[in-house]
Symmetry: C2
Subunit: 202 residues, 2 copies
DNA sequence: AGCGGCCACTGACAATTGTCACCGCCGGGT
DNA sequence: ACCCGGCGGTGACAATTGTCAGTGGCCGCT
């Protein structure tokens, strides 16, 4: 019996997947949670064979949780199940020690089988996705540039961002200018969107 | 046997829901599609009792499809199943003649039951959501203001937007200024985000 | 010890954006 | 016939944003 921890923030998706996986007679969903913060505590308690993690979650992200699980519960395989096949996500997932990366617009039928393959020691990663990730440029942004872009995602003015990050407005403008250059965009809004699309903002 | 047309763009979600609904012995998913454009043709062909529609879809939106279904296949009940409980969405769904509005972060268990209730002639709509929708201001934006905001969502400059909509840049700035005023925001990025959040951009 | 990269900041400048007042045109009510 | 509201536009102005050049401090590498 393969013991699964299911992590997904959308309750209906989570419930549907749990029912679905429960129908397989070698699989068992031993816990399901909807936030990032619950992942590690729950995993330490129920000691699942596999953790199936969404990335974009309330609390900490699935990628951070994956890193922590690798350190604190190394016998638990980590698989990522996400809406977005952003190059940065794939890269980070692999770096965090995940052994599977599935995209939610693939067929459901693949899911149970992917879990079994991971338990047999295989790594599950769509070859086309792997190739696209390798082809894409790795994250060229510095930590500060990421901070500033993330803070500008809600349309804040430079003055707001500076206030929130305790930086001078001029400094913020310089980071934004650098980010605009690196992303090949024309203003901070486009830069933030591009960085988000590439999975460069965590 | 209740015959269901299932519309949802995320394949894994669609597949999982189909399996789940198929487990109920009075429900039958007679067709499933993943784009807005397929909805009406498929419905006319399979003549379902209920169409369960996502809103944000490739092609036309679920709300547009709902309007068309009401006109061309009035015996088919329309239910909306969406991620976002945006006031504008609820309003438009009801105006389009939908008899159910479900949010994807509710429990799966409710889904099958909601379908049965709709078939018995009930309207399914969370009272708290209904209240919140009535409390929220109705869409104050004119058609042009919506166009301009939608065109600015990708961070385009005013000149770009003007080119795309065949308007003078000054006109675009005037519409944006009006939209910024009506949304109570400080610049076009915030205005576009606010309008999107309220479900004012379709 | 010297070099390069990132961080934090300043000041100057140009370009873009946001506001306002004002123009005419049209279509719907009353 | 009149008014109102939406549409499309102009020009002027202020504020914000983006670019560039330059200052230092700090850290890691060779």
């Amino acid at each position: 019996m393969i013991r699964i921890l299911l992590v997904e923030d959308q309750a209906m998706m989570r419930g549907a997947l749990a029912v679905l996986l429960g129908l397989e007679d070698d699989l068992e969903v031993v816990a399901q949670v909807g936030t990032g913060t619950e992942i590690v505590p729950t995993a330490l308690e129920v000691r699942p064979d596999v953790a199936l993690l969404d990335i974009e979650l309330p609390g900490i992200s699935g990628l951070e949780a994956a890193r922590e699980l690798a350190a604190r519960l190394p016998e638990c395989r980590v698989m990522i199940l996400t809406t977005f096949s952003r190059p940065g996500y794939v890269r980070e997932a692999m770096a965090a020690g995940a052994v599977g990366f599935l995209v939610k617009d693939g067929p459901v039928e693949e899911l149970a089988d992917a879990i079994r393959r991971v338990l047999r020691g295989e790594t599950v990663l769509d070859p086309a996705l792997a190739a696209a990730t390798l082809r894409a440029a790795p994250n060229p942004l510095t930590a500060r540039e990421r901070d500033v872009l993330a803070a500008s995602e809600d349309g804040s003015s430079i003055a707001d961002i500076a206030g929130r990050l305790f930086l001078s407005p001029s400094t913020v403008r310089n980071y934004l200018s650098a980010a605009i250059g690196k992303t090949g965009t024309r203003n901070k809004t486009e830069a933030a969107l591009a960085a988000r699309r590439n999975g460069w903002l965590g």
